[in-house]
């Protein structure tokens, strides 16, 4: 409630300055309040029910010794699960590997997405809408299908291997394409690139074109204009796109399951295993929270290091 007060307070004087009489002012204020709460309450209820409550449940489950007695049983809390995790250096190593993979995926997706967004914003002209639609068409098929498509691309009898065999470049199908971390990274970069392009595009579209003219008039080269204008001004979009890809990729489990093979598991697969294969929700919940905390910490540190405000300023 307290954070909302200033908004309403601000509404007051401006309504007054609009020259309205007392009764109208009151009604206006009421209307604004109704609109405000009408807009705020549904998403708040939604988030509370489907985000906060599950999050609290995860915390509660992670503090249980086991599942005995059902999810809602009153069991004295214990840190056993976190203790177990401390004794499992392999899990933390895999968490580190997953962060490294997510960084690689996010960096590659951002690098690939930037030229796409740049083209759409500055070069596509009247066809920008068409190209944007083309960029978004893959989302009409399900995520799973797009991942499965990479099995068809990379498999031993797949598109790439058929090409290599038919051109005589290799005598045997190349096996290292599928069922390893490489395949996971390739697939994730493919899946994420269009997503990452969208915030970058939004950032580029906000750049005032007169800035380029002014810079050109002052004798700036195209490279310098890009470096001094486009890059800093699009930085918030680039950073948003990067983390939009990085954060969910850390916890990814579907892609490694489908194309990662025996050695391509990520941290998210361990969590999934504890939930669906080991009947050990408490340990899985503790691992989820460790991941959540670890990822948040990592992002906070990264943002601090990059300092986006300095980039823009």
């Amino acid at each position: 409630m307290t954070t909302q007060t200033p908004v309403a307070e601000r509404a007051g004087p401006s309504a007054y300055r609009a020259g309205a009489g007392r009764p109208t002012r009151r009604r206006l204020r009421l209307d604004r309040n109704v609109t405000f709460w009408g807009l705020v309450i549904p998403p708040s209820v939604w988030l509370a029910l489907f985000f906060l409550v599950p999050l609290v449940l995860i915390v509660v489950i992670s503090l249980r010794p086991d599942l005995r007695g059902g999810v809602l049983a009153g069991v004295p809390p214990t840190l056993d699960q976190y203790q177990t995790l401390l004794e499992k250096p392999a899990y933390m190593r895999l968490f580190g590997t997953s962060i490294a993979m997510a960084l690689g995926v996010a960096a590659a997706a951002t690098a690939l997405a930037f030229p796409i967004a740049y083209f759409l914003a500055f070069r596509a002209g009247r066809r920008a809408g068409l190209f944007l639609a083309l960029l978004l068409i893959p989302f009409w098929t399900s995520f799973l299908l797009r991942v499965m498509a990479w099995k068809v691309m990379l498999g031993s009898g797949g598109v790439i291997n058929s090409f290599l065999l038919s051109t005589g470049l290799t005598a045997e199908p190349v096996a290292f394409l599928l069922y390893n971390r490489f395949a996971v990274v390739i697939t994730l970069v493919y899946v994420w690139t269009p997503f990452v392009a969208l915030p970058i595009l939004a950032g580029l579209q906000r750049i005032d074109p007169t800035l380029f003219e002014a810079a050109a008039d002052l004798g700036s080269t195209p490279a310098r204009r890009f470096w001094r204008i486009v890059l800093p001004l699009s930085a918030p979009g680039v950073i948003a796109g990067f983390f939009m890809c990085f954060i969910p990729t850390v916890g990814e489990y579907v892609t490694p399951l489908l194309v990662g093979g025996s050695g391509g598991s990520m941290y998210g697969n361990l969590i999934q295993d504890f939930f669906t294969k080991a009947a050990n929700w408490p340990l899985g919940a503790a691992m989820s929270l460790v991941m959540l905390a670890g990822t948040l910490l990592f992002v906070a540190l990264a943002i601090r290091l990059i300092n986006p405000r300095r980039l823009v300023g």
Binding site: M1, A8, R29, L30, N33, V34, W37, G38, I41, V45, D66, L67, R68, G69, G70, V71, L72, K88, A90, Y91, R93, L94, G155, S156, G157, A175, Y179, L257, G260, G261, S262, G263, S265, N269, L270, D273, F274, F275, T276, K277, A278, A279, N280, W281
Partner: protein, 356 residues
């Protein structure tokens, strides 16, 4: 603050009306509750053909299916308080439901088809002399191999660890199965494993990981990889064997010297269910002729109805299920009733293999 209070109240009132309204309009269906049943089952078993006798006898009952991804998943959901009336665990997991008090003791006189069940299957669903579970489907786990690419793989479970098949082996993604196989290969007493022995098993699978292409979790995934020639040797159920044979892929289903493994699927009734009559009728329907026959013909699984099994004359099915070999089940190895501690330790061992 007073002026906000009124508008907040207005919005809350609207919301309350909406929610309340939904509740009222939802009530008539809830009142017809005598005619409902919720089944917690594996994907695929929700198909009508696997409960057709129940459906025909009770067309008015509103049957809902919830899906479990594995035995562990179904157990976890039941322990977490699932309100499913009927659930479908397999041998090796039944005892946990009894220990946790999650399953209703059965009065077999309420099952008209009970006398069609062979004694062996009845016994596996008994604990402390009480019947808790009704069997439905059964089958094997063994080495499935491509006879053209790995013709020698049929002698022993050792094939799963043979470097000659490096990059062409696929193990099922399951900790208990991993301990089953490794104990036999290493000659260990599975039910009395010491910590060192479990470490040894873990190391065996960590080493095997270098040879293993992927851990399969669903039969279609395995069938596709074996048909394409990516996988030559795999831990598999007879369903995959039957599907590959039907596609004309040269495969054989091993009778390894250590013996095949076998499993039986059971249905249990949740303790305290309000739909007890429907639950009994559902379980009885599982043993009825048509429902039993469909699981044999669709999944190539065995049925717990011995009359149906005796009437099978399709040579393919007889071969796939080894029905013509009356001693085959005696030579197989049923997943033993492990303790909750063993279950957790084995599952953790398997996660450690993947994390290492």
């Amino acid at each position: 603050m007073k002026r906000y209070a009124r508008s907040v109240l207005a919005v809350v009132a609207v919301l309350a009306l909406l929610i309340g309204g939904a509740g009222i309009s939802g009530m008539p269906t809830a009142a017809q509750g005598s005619g409902s049943l919720t089944v917690l089952d594996w994907a695929g078993f929700d198909d009508e053909q696997f409960w057709i006798d129940f459906k025909n006898a009770h067309p008015d009952v509103d049957v809902t299916f919830e899906m479990g991804a594995s035995d562990a998943d179904i157990l976890a959901k039941m322990m977490a308080g699932s309100q499913a009336d009927v659930f479908h665990p397999y041998t090796g997991w039944l005892q946990f439901y009894v220990e946790e008090g999650l399953v209703e003791e059965l009065d077999t006189s309420r099952l008209a088809n009970w006398d069609k069940v062979p004694e062996r299957f009845k016994e596996l669903g008994q604990f402390d002399g009480k019947q808790y579970f009704v069997p439905y489907d059964w089958g094997y786990s063994s080495v499935l191999y491509r006879t053209d690419l790995a013709p020698e793989a049929g002698d022993s479970w050792d094939a799963m660890f043979d470097p000659a098949y490096s990059g062409h082996i696929s193990m099922w993604d399951d900790g208990v199965a991993a301990v089953d196989v490794a104990s036999q290969v290493l000659g260990l007493d599975e039910l009395n494993l010491t910590e060192e022995e479990l470490d040894k098993i873990q190391q065996l699978w960590i080493d095997q990981r270098e040879l293993n292409l992927f851990y399969w979790s669903g039969e279609p995934e395995l069938v596709e990889a074996m048909a394409s020639g990516d996988v030559w040797v795999a831990y598999a159920w007879q369903g995959a064997y039957a599907l590959l044979r039907a596609q004309g892929v040269p495969v054989a289903y091993a009778n390894p010297e250590e013996g095949r493994h076998s499993w039986v699927g059971y249905y249990g009734i949740r303790a305290g269910t309000e739909n007890l009559d429907n639950a009994y009728a559902f379980l009885d329907g599982k043993l009825a002729e048509e429902t039993a026959r469909n699981v044999v013909e669709t999944f190539y699984y065995g049925s717990a109805n011995q009359d149906v099994m005796a009437s099978i004359d399709d040579p393919e099915l007889i071969d796939v299920l080894a029905i013509d070999d009356p001693t085959v089940l005696d030579r197989t190895f049923f997943s033993p009733a492990i303790s909750a501690e063993q279950r957790d330790a084995w599952a953790e061992m398997w996660v450690d293999v993947k994390a290492s």
